[in-house]
């Protein structure tokens, strides 16, 4: 501690930088711990459907076959697969929530049938 105070007088910029970097490192360490607790809960690991996701992306992360996905979105074939869900919802004149509800309902039915 004495050395630190001495260093502070002699080289204030380095000493201040050292303290700041240490504080930041401690914050990151604390955040890591809180995150580990958060992600260790399996409920948090199922990623909810969001507007930026594409149909194929959701199909993959929810383990749904393409035909279930196509049925849920409506229509006979996959719309341009690289379009995100919020654009697909806008095309159909529905809200993103309505579209995601259709997908989650279809996923629930599919999982029941298995």
């Amino acid at each position: 501690m004495k050395r630190l105070i001495h260093a502070w007088k002699r080289r204030p910029v380095f000493a201040t930088g050292f303290v700041l970097a240490t504080v930041v490192a401690v914050l990151f360490a604390l955040r890591s711990v809180s995150m580990m607790i958060y992600w260790s809960d399996p409920d948090h690991r199922d990623q909810s459907i969001e507007g930026w996701m594409t149909p194929r992306y959701v199909a993959r992360s929810w383990h749904l076959p393409p035909e279930v996905m196509i049925g849920a979105i409506g229509g006979s074939q996959m719309p341009d697969p690289r379009r995100p869900l919020n654009e697909i919802a806008a095309d159909q004149g529905i809200t993103l929530l309505e579209l995601t509800t259709r997908i989650t309902d279809a996923a629930a039915i599919f999982r029941d049938q298995r």
Binding site: F14, T22, V24, R45, Q47, W52, Y57, R60, W62, R82
Partner: protein, 204 residues
């Protein structure tokens, strides 16, 4: 903003990822790790091709490193002037130059991926402190390849949990970078004055 960028990945993925890795090598705060992980995840869903996604990120990062290095080199005269300023600035300047000369390659390599938050600043310092271009380019490219492959690969493997991956990776690299910086600055603060006079100011 992150969501809007994510929605653009499957459509403009390669250009977007190259642009973001380019900017992040120049200390512009863009969510490069998020977009690389997203690129990997979209590749897993067949919306992108894995190899071209990795290549795009790698290409942007290499060009970004070269740009940062060139900026540092251009600014080296300015730094030299700064190096004659106050004693702390002089120590920092000398220290950076010694480090570049002795362990510059390792430093460049590790700050690409393991300590990536420090990467852009090391680019500028490497250019300014006269690290050889060929040496810099070799270690920078090798490190960037690991950085891009690592994040894209994590996204590919954990495509359903990219939020988790980005959170964890961001925290680990933030912690390691802050710890390294604290050790570096702590050593500079505690270094004895005698050594400073004899070692640092002696003509090379």
């Amino acid at each position: 903003m992150a969501d809007a960028l994510m929605a653009m990945v499957p459509q403009y993925g390669l250009w977007l990822i190259a642009l973001v890795t380019f900017l992040s090598c120049l200390a512009v705060p863009v969510p490069s790790s998020l977009l690389m992980v997203a690129g990997g995840a979209f590749a897993a869903a067949d919306d992108l091709v894995l190899s071209t996604t990795v290549f795009a990120g790698f290409f942007g990062a290499v060009v970004g490193d070269q740009t940062g290095f060139a900026i540092g080199r251009k600014g080296s005269t300015l730094l030299k002037k700064m190096g004659t300023g106050g004693s702390q600035r002089r120590i920092l300047f000398e220290r950076a130059r010694n480090f570049s000369a002795n362990r510059g390659g390792t430093g460049v390599f590790l700050t690409r991926w393991l300590l990536s938050p420090l990467g852009p600043y090391v680019n500028f310092v490497s250019g300014a402190s006269g690290l050889g271009w060929a040496k810099f380019s070799f270690y920078a490219a090798a490190g960037e390849f690991i950085w891009v492959s690592l994040y894209t690969g994590l996204g590919f493997v954990f495509s359903g949990q990219i939020e988790m991956v980005v959170d964890i990776a961001g925290n680990i690299s933030g912690f390691l970078a802050a710890t390294t910086l604290a050790i570096f600055l702590g050593r500079l603060a505690l270094r004895p004055a005698k050594d400073q006079l004899q070692g640092e100011l002696a003509p090379k």
